[in-house]
């Protein structure tokens, strides 16, 4: 979700209420990053350029580092005090376990007449200590909570839309959100 800076409408599972959420992000300099966040990312010894962002929701703020590591796109999100919130890494569909893929596909077949998966990210949540295992080329610590964030092009009778889904480790749907594109009339006329 953090890489999609659009107006997002979140449909809470099992709820008739649709929440409107707006996220705004802007680039910040390393000197404006909380010390704890900077120290954590520095300790990862990332060779590629690291971009820092301040992300503002309606009632929350977070700090995000984005970079490439081992040819994959990573984003590491912190709270404004430098506490780690989660680590996301973009992965190929073929890297996902078969049982998880089947569960995700079953859900998407329920929701969409036709669908295409545009992007999939693994989202790890846990302490900084546990999260080091994501970057040290060894087995990822099993104590980290794993979720899957999937961006799907979904065709329904009402038309085609882009959705962002969040699935748990087994592929069970946790939430889905319709992605509303930013206004583009200044690019069209």
């Amino acid at each position: 979700m953090r890489k999609l800076f659009f107006l997002v409408i979140i449909y809470l599972p099992g709820s008739l209420f649709a929440q409107v959420k707006f996220e705004k992000e802007r680039r910040i300099k390393p000197r404006d990053v909380p010390a704890g966040a900077l120290a954590f990312v520095d300790s990862l010894n990332i060779e590629q350029r690291i971009k820092w962002f301040l992300e503002e929701g309606e009632s929350s703020k977070s700090i995000e580092a984005k970079f490439k590591f081992n040819k994959s796109n990573y984003s590491v999100e912190f709270d404004t005090l430098g506490g780690l919130q989660d680590v996301e890494v973009e992965v190929d569909w073929k890297e996902i376990d078969r049982s998880v893929k089947e569960a995700i596909i079953m859900q998407l077949q329920l929701d969409c007449a036709k669908f295409k998966i545009n992007k999939i990210q693994k989202q790890y949540t846990g302490s900084k200590k546990l999260s080091y295992s994501i970057f040290n080329n060894q087995a990822i610590n099993k104590e980290l909570e794993l979720k899957y964030e999937v961006v799907v092009r979904c065709s329904q009778s009402s038309g085609v839309e882009l959705y962002e889904y969040l699935f748990d480790e087994q592929g069970k749907k946790l939430s889905s959100a319709k992605i509303i594109f930013r206004n583009s009339s200044h690019l069209e006329y």
Binding site: K3, S184, S185, H186, L187
Partner: protein, 230 residues
């Protein structure tokens, strides 16, 4: 997308044409303010109304005689309706009336637009055809392709209160009275997103045409665009 690279390409393309040594090369310089109002309708429809006026400040021959004189030239009024046909695409059709002194031109417009979102920038492709009729001139038929880049100057997307760079590059193929002409437009603009439904843009609209028939004309228009969503 590298901003320096975009500027370099603009400068390169603009600098190629004024270098020609054609004796008949002319230029005009003026302003092109435009007000653009967009409204979303039900079922993925939208409507766009635009007023654009053209005022001339200076014109003449390159390396020859030129004159400084303010001249109001024309005003265009257009109304276009659009329908979303895909995730990022829209078809649109509309009508434009051009009032130029006593002369009135009627233009019918059809267009297809696709907007692509990339990490850090957006690209819009516009394929447009139009047909212009008036009592004075022969009908003109045009086929146009425009590519537009939007580069946020802060972050990965343009948010309210932020500046952005927008560059249009358009190729306008025209057929009138059996004569073909190609016009190339390069329009670098600095934009400011005042709010999610109000944008301001300013920059230079550069156009070159008639270079195929040895009568090259360069046009430099100061652009001021206002985009409003109501």
């Amino acid at each position: 997308m590298n901003i320096k690279l975009v500027f370099l390409l603009i400068l390169l393309e603009i600098s190629i044409f004024p270098m020609d040594l054609n004796a008949q090369t002319t230029f005009q310089f003026g302003a092109l303010p435009a007000l653009n109002i967009n409204r979303k309708l039900k079922n993925d429809w939208s409507i766009n109304a635009k007023i654009e006026s053209r005022q001339l400040f200076r014109r003449g021959e390159i390396n020859g005689i030129s004159e400084n004189k303010y001249n109001y030239v024309l005003t265009d009024y257009s109304l276009i309706t659009a329908k979303k046909v895909g995730l990022n695409s829209r078809i649109a059709a509309g009508y434009l009336i051009r009032i130029e002194g006593e002369e009135v031109n009627h233009r019918f417009i059809q267009q297809f637009i696709i907007v692509q979102k990339f990490s850090g920038f957006r690209l819009a492709h516009r394929f447009l055809s139009d047909q212009t009729y008036s009592y004075v001139e022969q009908p003109e038929f045009r086929l146009r392709y425009r590519i537009t880049t939007e580069l946020p100057l802060n972050g990965e997307a343009v948010d309210p209160g932020e500046f952005y760079l927008k560059v249009n590059n358009e190729y306008v193929n025209s057929l009138q009275g059996g004569e073909y002409d190609l016009e190339i437009r390069i329009v670098p603009l600095l934009g400011y997103d005042v709010s999610s439904n109000f944008k301001l843009e300013s920059g230079l609209d550069y156009r070159v045409n008639s270079f195929l028939n040895q009568a090259t004309r360069h046009s430099y228009w100061l652009s001021l665009n206002i985009f409003m969503e109501i």
